[in-house]
């Protein structure tokens, strides 16, 4: 289904649209990729999270630009300028709450988006590069969020920055030099804050660029779907507009209600109170934790009693995702037809939640043990279970087409009979 029979929308007949389109085919692009764009007819609400993530990127860039207009990236002025935004700038509190909680919302959306991909096998042929680009976006998001958290220059900002940059000191020989270079000095200080602000402002636009590549790769073969089988013909697809624009808009409204709840009624639930204390390089808070969305990775870091080992394992927990399309040896995409994988998928989700819990606790006793067991399970899932499942699992029979289970056997059979199918 690389190409489809494209029939232009009525608005393409407008003379101004034609004039512009002849010189810059932007309307053709919109019409082919957003309006007439054929999407599988059976996408469920989990397919909303890609567009939600895109909208969150826009929300974060907009609120961030307006925050930057009032922010002072210096160790002397950063903390006070954030206080000024909260108290004196018109609606500054609103814009900052949107940005703070927006980061959490962005990660929730992206985590669901990633789990959706894992459940329905969206990373498999022919969408491997699409999957890679998604991981790149995720890595850039983590770097951006980390640097953004440093900017208010509270105690958690400062010590988070100190701990995370010190990760690089684990590497032999070059480690110390890398850390010195990251800091631009002998500790996290004014030069560090300056460059983190510059990069925090830059990164979202880099993310936007990779998002365009992500969408480009997506639109080559089109969206995967809950059945995980390829579309066999036009009866398996519906135009993106109005079907999925409306579905996305409805999901967006529901999502914004949840987002608004946090912004207006519970803005600090997802943050840490220690960040209301200005950074003090002489006193470390008794219990350092990253923002909630980094907790699972923090747990992996602390699971190993070896400095370099912990760092390598933490980076490895993301790097392993790049190999996923080949570690998963099953040819069936959707977990709907993979009874054993479905069990392991939910065990993996529980494993990630356990890591998150362990990451939030002090690294000792039961939480440390849970973190270690979950870390082992995390890597076993990718390195042992997934490769073996492809061999030992007996998948359920796949439906003949997307239209068949949607429209019911009889009708789909009729359509299928009139349309010769290509072999998947």
């Amino acid at each position: 289904m690389a190409k489809y029979d494209y029939v232009p929308s009525p608005f393409m007949a407008n003379s101004i649209v034609k004039w512009v389109d002849h010189r810059l085919p932007i309307f053709t692009l919109i019409d082919e990729q957003l309006v007439k764009y054929p999407a599988p007819r059976n996408l469920n609400y989990l397919w909303n999270f890609g567009s939600l993530a895109g909208i969150m990127l826009v929300v974060m860039i907009l609120s961030g630009i307006f925050l930057a207009m009032n922010y002072n990236p210096s160790t002397a002025g950063a903390f006070d300028s954030v206080e000024r935004i909260m108290r004196d700038v018109n609606y500054g509190w609103l814009i900052r709450y949107i940005h703070m909680n927006g980061a959490s919302m962005f990660f929730i959306v992206v985590y669901i988006h990633i789990l959706r991909g894992l459940y329905y096998g969206s990373y498999k042929y022919p969408r491997e590069i699409l999957w890679w680009l998604g991981i790149v976006i995720f890595l850039l998001m983590m770097a951006t969020a980390f640097m953004g958290y440093v900017l208010p220059w509270g105690q958690m900002s400062f010590w988070g920055a100190t701990v995370i940059t010190n990760l690089f000191s684990a590497f032999p020989i070059v480690g110390e030099h890398i850390v010195l270079w990251l800091w631009g000095g002998f500790s996290v200080d004014n030069p560090t804050l300056n460059r983190f602000f510059a990069l925090h402002y830059l990164m979202p636009f880099v993310i936007a660029g990779v998002v365009l590549l992500h969408l480009w790769a997506l639109h080559v073969h089109g969206s995967n779907n809950p059945l995980g089988i390829d579309a066999k013909g036009p009866q398996d697809k519906i135009p993106f507009h109005p079907y999925y624009t409306v579905k996305d808009a409805f999901g967006l409204a529901v999502f914004f209600i949840i987002f608004a709840y946090f912004v207006f009624f519970s803005p600090y639930t997802l943050g840490h109170p220690d960040n209301w204390i200005e950074a003090n390089p002489l006193v470390t808070p008794p219990h350092i934790v990253p923002e909630w969305y980094f907790l699972p990775f923090y747990a992996v870091l602390r699971a190993v009693p070896d400095k370099l080992g912990g760092v390598l394992l933490m980076f490895g927990s993301i790097a392993i995702l790049f190999l996923l399309p080949w570690l998963d040896t099953s040819r069936v995409r959707s977990a709907r037809f993979r009874p054993a994988y479905r069990v392991f998928f939910w065990l993996f989700v529980i494993c990630c939640l356990a890591l998150g819990w362990a990451g939030a606790m002090p690294a000792e006793g039961v939480p440390l043990l849970v973190g270690q067991v979950a870390t082992v399970w995390y890597f076993l899932h990718f390195l042992v279970f997934l490769p073996l499942l492809g061999w030992f699992e007996r998948p359920l029979p796949l439906p003949a087409s997307i239209a068949e289970p949607v429209l019911g056997g009889g009708k789909a059979g009729m359509v299928a009979a009139t349309k010769p199918m290509e072999k998947a």
Binding site: F66, M69, N70, R87, D88, V89, N90, Y91, G92, I95
Partner: protein, 189 residues
């Protein structure tokens, strides 16, 4: 369900009125209006964040103690980030300013309307031409041909009432709103 007799049911469109409108039209319009209103209100919060903040507005008025300013002396104070000239005028300067009420003024205004007490002249020290700060506050400064102020940027001459007399500036030096809180203190703004 009780429906007005005029409605008909068409497949896929829901109930349709004779004039061609459907429930779907109503949903489109109400949802669109709802989203549009939300977007405008949110947009206003962002636009309003660029207006002067509370701490900026808190500094919008400045108090000046006039007691230490001797006759013939002038001081410059900062008000809203701009210089304000406060001149304790001599009797000759006051007389000259009143006499010049009858002169040919590019921006006619009697001296009496530019002061609250004749000996105290309070002006925004920004040339009305292109925003330079005119000379004339220090004893050593050039005061221009009319004994008031002289703008070095493009050669505007102001008199002892701060009125434009010669040069490219179109208007007199502005008089800020101020009030005497007591005999020797003014609050500007």
């Amino acid at each position: 369900m009780a429906q007005p007799g005029s409605t008909t049911i068409t497949e896929g469109e829901g109930r349709k009125h004779p004039d061609g409108t459907t429930r779907r039209d109503f949903l489109y319009l109400s949802a669109g209006a709802f989203a549009g209103t939300g977007a405008v209100l949110t947009g206003w919060a962002f636009i309003h964040s660029m207006n002067p903040a509370a701490d900026v507005l808190a500094l919008a008025s400045t108090e000046v103690n006039l007691a230490p300013i001797a006759v013939g002396q002038a001081i410059t104070v900062t008000w809203r980030g701009k210089p304000v000239f406060v001149r304790h005028r001599t009797a000759e300067e006051i007389a000259k300013a009143k006499e010049d009420d009858k002169a040919a003024l590019p921006d006619p205004q009697p001296d009496a309307r530019r002061v609250q007490k004749p000996e105290w002249l309070v002006l925004v020290g920004v040339c009305t031409h292109l925003g330079c700060v005119p000379l004339g506050q220090k004893p050593s400064d050039a005061k221009g041909d009319f004994g008031g102020w002289f703008c070095p940027c493009h050669g505007s001459h102001y008199d002892t009432s701060g009125r434009i007399r010669r040069g490219p500036a179109p208007a007199n030096l502005a008089v800020p709103s101020y009030a005497f809180t007591n005999d020797t203190t003014i609050r500007i703004g």
